[in-house]
């Protein structure tokens, strides 16, 4: 099991007070995680000692920066077990990953009447880019429904996933229900009808071992800031032969091989998809992030979060009128989105904040999911490797006080 006390010492922010004498209880890691010292220092060292633009600078600083930036890519490739570092495209965030595929692969491969299959539990990042693509092309977006437990209902999958389906893009882990979806089974089903697959791993890569070769997915996207890493950097993984065949997304420096007044030709992978000066400090920071997580151990992190989730669901069940949405703890990642009688999540979150407890209230960028539940918003507590059972206890106490204030 993780030594949580030791891990907490790696995160400087965890000693901060929300308000004078009110220690911070940070339960919003699904929105954005905290960062360990090792990551902050990797970026700081770059900025203070070898800051320079990357690629083709023939001086020591630039060579060091290029080496560190490309080493980070290789680390990420190893972390998700990509065959080749060229399959790791650095983007701003998971969202840009979906947009890149929807523009580049989508423009070249989607025609009127084609179908794009998503699920009803997707984050907007995995809905809106496809809707925009479908609008441009006259294609159709369809959705796999979820059941009353927040689990995908696959009983009609054969009607939704057909030879008209050009791509099936779905999340590995729901950011509201916490549901861990059967990724390999869904990919196999997509392959059976010849559909491409894209995995939203924004809530998966930070929390469990992920192996893109084992998944055998075509594309997969995630964000640095949710996995103890920097903002401004994320990853699009794509199979090499697909990326090779795709036209570029953005144009500019670094992504070209040759530019003339008439036309341009493209650089090799992965740079073909990285236009302009990249997020250098952030890429280097992501390399340190992957080192940190690997050192702790992704299997250990996952196991610990499973424990926390069980603990949390049991503890929350003691709050009268509270309902946690989604499946039971055994099928769930460290996310508990709940409602408390008719109280508005904004009121709950604001009152919890006065106790130093940071939770998120809203639709968590999953409006279709909430609409289906008949809710405008939920309150969400989410956990990570630095979360303790004592913090969950504080959440439960806070919720009891919210009930009192509202005279429930």
């Amino acid at each position: 099991m993780l030594d949580v006390a030791k891990i907490r010492a790696d995160f400087p922010i965890l000693t901060v007070e929300s308000y004078p004498d009110v220690p911070l209880v940070f339960l919003d890691s699904a929105a954005s995680s905290q960062k360990p010292t090792a990551v902050l220092e990797a970026m700081d060292t770059y900025l203070r000692t070898y800051n320079a633009n990357v690629h083709r600078g023939i001086y020591r600083l630039s060579e060091d920066a290029t080496n560190a930036y490309e080493a980070a890519r290789a680390k990420v490739a190893r972390f998700i077990n990509a065959q080749d570092a060229a399959e790791v495209i650095f983007v701003r965030n998971a969202t840009e990953g979906f947009n890149l595929v929807a523009y580049s692969w989508g423009e070249a491969n989607i025609s009127a009447g084609d179908e794009i299959l998503l699920t009803e539990m997707e984050h907007h990042a995995n809905i809106v880019p496809w809707q925009l693509l479908a609008q441009r092309k006259g294609a159709v977006v369809r959705y796999v429904p979820f059941d009353e437990n927040g689990v995908l209902d696959l009983s009609n999958l054969a009607e939704l996933l057909t030879e008209r389906t050009k791509i099936f893009s779905f999340t590995a882990v729901s950011n509201v229900f916490g549901t861990i979806n059967p990724v390999k089974q869904l990919i196999a089903a997509a392959k059976a009808v010849g559909a491409m697959t894209m995995i939203d791993a924004a809530q998966a890569v930070p929390h469990m071992p992920i192996d893109v070769q084992d998944f055998d997915c075509d594309f997969l996207a995630f964000s640095g800031h949710k996995m103890c890493g920097p903002t401004g950097i994320g990853v699009l993984y794509g199979k090499r032969e697909l990326l090779e065949a795709m036209p570029p997304f953005m144009g500019g420096g670094d992504m070209i091989r040759r530019v003339t007044l008439e036309k341009s030709t493209w650089n090799d992978l992965p740079w073909k998809f990285e236009a302009g000066t990249p997020s250098i400090a952030e890429g280097i920071g992501l390399g340190a992030t992957v080192d940190y997580l690997t050192h702790v151990g992704m299997a250990e992190i996952h196991a610990y979060e499973q424990y926390l989730t069980h603990y949390a669901l049991e503890a929350l069940s003691e709050v009268p009128g509270l309902k946690v949405w989604g499946p039971p703890a055994s099928q769930k990642a460290g996310v508990a989105a709940f409602t408390l009688e008719k109280l508005h999540p904004h009121d709950i979150a604001e009152l919890l904040d006065k106790d130093g407890i940071a939770v998120r209230a809203g639709h968590h960028c999953a409006m279709p999911l909430h609409k289906k539940l008949g809710l405008a918003a939920t309150t969400r507590a989410s956990f990570y490797l630095y979360t303790t059972p004592a913090e969950i206890d504080r959440l439960v106490e806070g919720l009891h006080r919210v009930r009192q204030i509202f005279r429930l």
Partner: protein
């Protein structure tokens, strides 16, 4: 817990709102929601011969702040002229609410005023401005 924000008055108004309901017909009505939190407020107003607010009712759903704000605002505008309604300062409403609000919650507090003014100015139904708005 510093629950000064949620002082008694707000919880009272949340439990027992003032001027809750609908007026049909009304001289002007408007409804708008904040999709981010699901707050929705509708306000109906009847004017008298001098164009003063004779009757006002609000309905909707939302957090304690937006609900209390709607009660306080509708109470406050009774007897005001249409022009006074159009010029109603948001500072006054925030003072009526009387608790310290964070940036995110100021929006909740001001939703009722936004709806009231949109109605007073005769703005078109938001459905026309933001299609797909009220489905």
């Amino acid at each position: 817990m510093d629950s000064s924000m949620y002082r008694e008055q707000i919880i009272d108004l949340y439990e027992n709102p003032l001027n809750y309901g609908e007026l049909d017909p009304a001289d002007f009505s408007y409804e708008e929601d904040n999709p981010l939190c699901g707050d929705v407020i509708r306000i109906d107003v009847r004017l008298d011969e001098q164009n003063r607010v004779a009757e006002v009712a609000w309905s909707g759903d939302g957090c304690a702040i937006s609900q209390a704000s709607a009660s306080l605002l509708t109470e406050e505008i009774k007897g005001l002229t249409l022009d006074e309604v159009k010029a109603f300062p948001k500072e006054t409403l925030l003072e009526l609410i009387g608790v310290q609000l964070s940036m995110a919650r100021v929006k909740c507090a001001l939703l009722s005023l936004k709806v009231l003014k949109a109605g007073a100015y005769g703005l078109p139904d938001p459905e026309e401005i933001h299609p797909g708005h009220k489905e």
